[in-house]
């Protein structure tokens, strides 16, 4: 137990931990940028993969962050959850790691796919499904899996990393992107390069169907058995009519229970091309030594075309929508408004609004709903949900204290929104936002993991990691008029989707059902 950290976690919840740091002038931030330019090297390999190496020799360790510019929003129609499923599969190893005999395993895995396709075809028949044949095909499928499993060295990939001192090893799938990361002692840099390039170039979809079961457990845990998870899924499905941001990221149950390894391979082929990947490595490494070695491993990954940009753009909303969930769960209120994507010239204005409404105990929503009106335990407004690459939502939520209702939360939030439209924010509020933005950036520079993530993200989104620092210039230019203008434009009724959970006691055991069909 690390006491300070534990307390920190608790407080982070309570007040939104405004990390300390003072107004560095923009000029001194330029010095930090200059310092980073000396330590940071970007290399785009001939196959299109972007490598960023940042030297930070504070301790003999490094952290890496691989960002694949494809996420749940890229799930094919009918296969929601596939991007996330593939993320799990990226821990199953390669043609060299995790197998006792890859050529034989490859043949066996091909048989699994054929057997599954046969089973699936029977399973999906709307008319004339033959239970006996289905059982028979299921048996063939299970036998094929067992035959393929004989070649598997289970979990060898992650085990190899962990045995070599990898920590914080994980991956995550968001709507916009999929990321892989861990930290290791610096003397394992080459081993890492071997492993990471291997799973990007030659992943093997072994044990796919068992991992599919694991992922369904993840869905049950995060969505089905979690009132807020279930609420968020319904909220997004309602807010979006066309864009995939409205689909379940972990996958609708019917779809995630039916995706197959062939689809996962196709997803990999299309989206895990070098041109779609940025990898940042930060720590005790020298770019001059590391780049040639990294090129040796990542250079041979076969090139492919960068996936074509998505055609779907969410049509403008023209009517307010709402979802009411009546369950034996405690009340909650959530609403959202469509906003443009992160490239919008007003992007920093949204950041300002979110900071002024939500950051710490000086934030308006806290002061109004929590401290003064005493109706909520927590309330925030935040931007870029569920993603920022495509037009996302600016969302607000409030957690009522006992005895108060979602409707009261809505009214109180709307009052705060109206204030943004009808009167200017104060100079002091705007200044605090700008100061905290600079401080927050600076605080993040002393952390290999966080830095690797930031460098990879800014390089992906802007084509230049320096935007991490330059963004502060846009933040500095935000005016009171901008806040009022943007609030008036976006926070309008016809652009709104609301969700409430209204506590409803569980129904008494239904007597009338007794004796009925089960």
């Amino acid at each position: 137990m690390r006491i300070r950290r534990l307390v920190g976690i608790v407080l982070a919840f309570a007040v939104g931990w405004g990390a300390a740091a003072r107004a560095q002038s923009p000029a001194s931030m330029a010095q930090y940028l200059a310092g980073f330019e000396k330590k940071t090297t970007v290399k785009v390999l001939p196959n299109g993969l972007t490598l960023i190496v940042c030297e930070r020799p504070e301790a003999p360790v490094f952290s890496y962050y691989t960002l694949v510019d494809a996420g749940s929003a890229d799930d094919p129609q009918g296969a929601s959850g596939l991007a996330h499923m593939f993320e799990h599969m990226a821990f199953k190893g390669t043609d060299q790691i995790g197998t006792t005999d890859y050529p034989a395993e490859k043949v066996a895995l091909a048989k699994v796919e054929i057997a599954y396709a046969d089973y699936d075809a029977e399973f999906r028949k709307l008319v004339g499904q033959d239970p006996a044949r289905l059982a028979e095909l299921k048996k063939v499928f299970e036998d094929a899996q067992a035959a393929a499993e004989k070649y598997v060295v289970p979990n060898q990939f992650a085990e190899l990393a962990e045995q070599n001192g990898a920590v914080d090893l994980n991956a995550s799938t968001e709507e916009d992107s999929t990321q892989f990361f861990w930290s290791m002692p610096e003397n394992r840099l080459e081993l890492w390069a071997y492993m990471e390039s291997g799973r990007i170039a030659h992943p093997v979809e072994r044990e796919f169907y068992k991992e599919r079961d694991v992922v369904q457990e993840e869905r049950r845990m995060r969505i089905d058995s979690n009132p807020i998870g279930a609420m968020v899924e319904q909220f997004l499905a309602t807010a979006y009519v066309a864009h995939p941001y409205g689909r379940s990221g972990v996958g609708w149950e019917s779809e995630i229970s039916q995706v197959n390894a062939t689809e996962a391979e196709a997803f990999h082929k299309k989206y895990y091309v070098p041109a779609n990947i940025v990898i940042a490595v930060v720590g005790d490494i020298k770019a001059a030594d590391a780049i040639p070695m990294l090129t040796k491993y990542f250079g041979p990954i076969p090139a492919g075309p960068k996936p074509e940009p998505m055609t779907t753009i969410e049509p403008a909303q023209f009517a307010e929508k709402s979802v009411t969930i009546r369950e034996a769960a405690q009340p909650f209120y959530l609403e959202g408004y469509h906003r443009p994507d992160y490239r919008d010239p007003d992007d920093s204005v949204y950041n300002a609004i979110s900071d002024i409404l939500s950051n710490g105990r000086t934030a308006r929503l806290y002061k109004s709903l929590v401290r003064d009106q005493k109706i909520a335990a927590d309330s925030e407004g935040f931007s870029g949900f569920p993603g920022q690459k495509y037009p996302g939502l600016f969302a607000f939520y409030a957690v009522p204290v006992p005895g108060h209702t979602p409707d009261e939360m809505r009214d109180a939030i709307h009052k705060e929104i109206d204030k943004l439209k009808t009167s200017d924010v104060t100079d002091q509020e705007l200044e605090m936002f700008k100061t905290r933005a600079r401080a927050g950036l600076l605080r993040g520079l002393a952390d290999n993991e966080g830095l690797a993530q930031q460098l990879a993200e800014y390089q992906t989104r802007y084509g230049d990691w320096r935007e991490l620092f330059r963004e502060l210039d846009r933040i500095d230019k935000v005016t009171k008029g901008d806040v009022r203008r943007v609030a008036s434009k976006v926070f309008v009724e016809s652009n709104r989707t609301t969700t409430s959970i209204i506590f409803t006691p569980p129904a008494q055991p239904a007597v009338e059902d007794a004796g009925g069909a089960e």
């Binding site: 137990m1 006491i3 300070r4 534990l6 307390v7 608790v10 919840f13 309570a14 007040v15 931990w17 990390a19 740091a21 003072r22 560095q24 301790a59 003999p60 749940s72 821990f91 060299q96 006792t100 005999d101 060295v153 289970p154 979990n155 060898q156 085990e159 190899l160 962990e162 045995q163 001192g165 920590v167 914080d168 994980n170 995550s172 610096e186 003397n187 394992r188 071997y194 599919r212 457990e217 993840e218 049950r220 845990m221 089905d224 058995s225 807020i228 968020v232 972990v250 769960a329 405690q330 710490g360 005493k374 927590d378 569920p386 009522p400 006992p402 002091q428 100061t435 600076l442 002393a446």
Partner: protein, 505 residues
Amino acid sequence: MNMISTKFTTRFKTRTALAAAACMLVFAMQFAQAQTAPAAKSDASPAQAEPWTAIPIPPLHAFKPQQPKRIELSNGLVLFLQEDHELPFIDGSILIRGGSRDEPAAKTGLVSLYGEAWRTSGTATTSGDALDTELAQKAASIETGGGGATTSVDWGSFKQDFDTVFGEAVDLLLHPAFKPDKLALAQRGMFTSISRRNDEPDSIAGRESAKLVYGKDSPLARQAEYATVAAVTLDDLKAWHDRTVVPNGIIVSVEGDFDSAAMEAKLRKVFEPMSRGEAIPPLKADFPGPPPGVYFADKEDVNQSTVEILGLGTERSNPDYYALSVMNEVFSGGFGSRVVQYVRTKLGLAYDVGGSYGADYDHPGVFRSEVGTKSVTTVAATNAVLEEIGRLKTVPPTPAELRKAKDQVMNSFIFRYDTPEKTLNEQVVLAFYGYPPDFLEKYKDGVERVTSADVSRVANKYIDVSKLAILVVGNKAEIKPPLSSLGKVTDLDITIPPPPGKPAR
């Protein structure tokens, strides 16, 4: 940090019961801090060559973690100073002995309320609200908190603001002004937490497991209720403060861009005049362990069971701690560990599965194994985990398993002290619990010496499956076969007692 997210991950982060209880609203989307390691199958020598074995692993760059400077004042207060000049910040912490385990049972929740109302009330001269603004303008922070064994004041700022911000933090320590509206604010927050504590299965399991292992009235497990929170008064907060804020119960640690000699002088000036008092004594409690059996909490709106298999763990001062740590790695230390290999990878029964023979600094930890599985496989998954627990006794780690478990600990050891802040925190925690400052190095040596026979010995000495309790939070109607196939089932009443004077809902 907000609670809404749509991120999905490969690994699951095991909750810390305390954090979960303290902040039920956080929608946990963080990731795994490893628990879990490798298994039997991979011991078979693969027919395929292992090309990675040819990759050179040069010696690690020389590195000597910088230890903080320790100073003990004549009044018993301990200072730790850790210089770190990478960025122009200075952060500090005042850690005070005494926490929720030392509060009266009838006022459970007192220390949480204290931890919040202390800072929000402010000082005799600066109100909490004024402090909020003052600090926000500097992007600085001062926060107070109440935990299980401690309370604290943490502060952080740009180095040029140190004198001001530290001054306010000290003012808060020496001249707090507990105010009724801020106590009420903190109480509302706790009432909200109480009202929501049955919304998520994890939070139910976290609470109920502590009550099973330590006893429902134990200072380590009892839970705040509407009545105990409502019973806390301003005088209680003041009395708590006066009782605990004594220099011989305080550790102050500072980290950042400063000169140690100058910092020491500043701190001495502030803390030396404090006069000794009676510090909170060490925890005294009985630890009988859980009553064996199956315990069930029904939650009809879930489709997955949260299962915890529970026993009493040990203390870190136990000489068998090293062997138990290796046992934990073999059992559940990573993707390759036995329970992950079997229950998640081989059987596909769970996303979240793991466990460890827990060790705390000053009291026995919890021996906890957990699994989350769909309702219909509740019994199967529970049995699978029990089977792996049993195998720890009957199947000693193979040489390959032992090597992997130890490699994992040794090769990642650097991450226990790769930042000045980690080194500092380690020393603070060791000093707080009276452990020797070289505990970490001893741990490394100890783990290195552990043999397969040691693991087998401790497994047989400490694990008694007949003494374990099984806790299930799930949907009774869906659990088939029923839990009775695991043993005698006791239904847990998780109904939230209504506030005094209000009927149950």
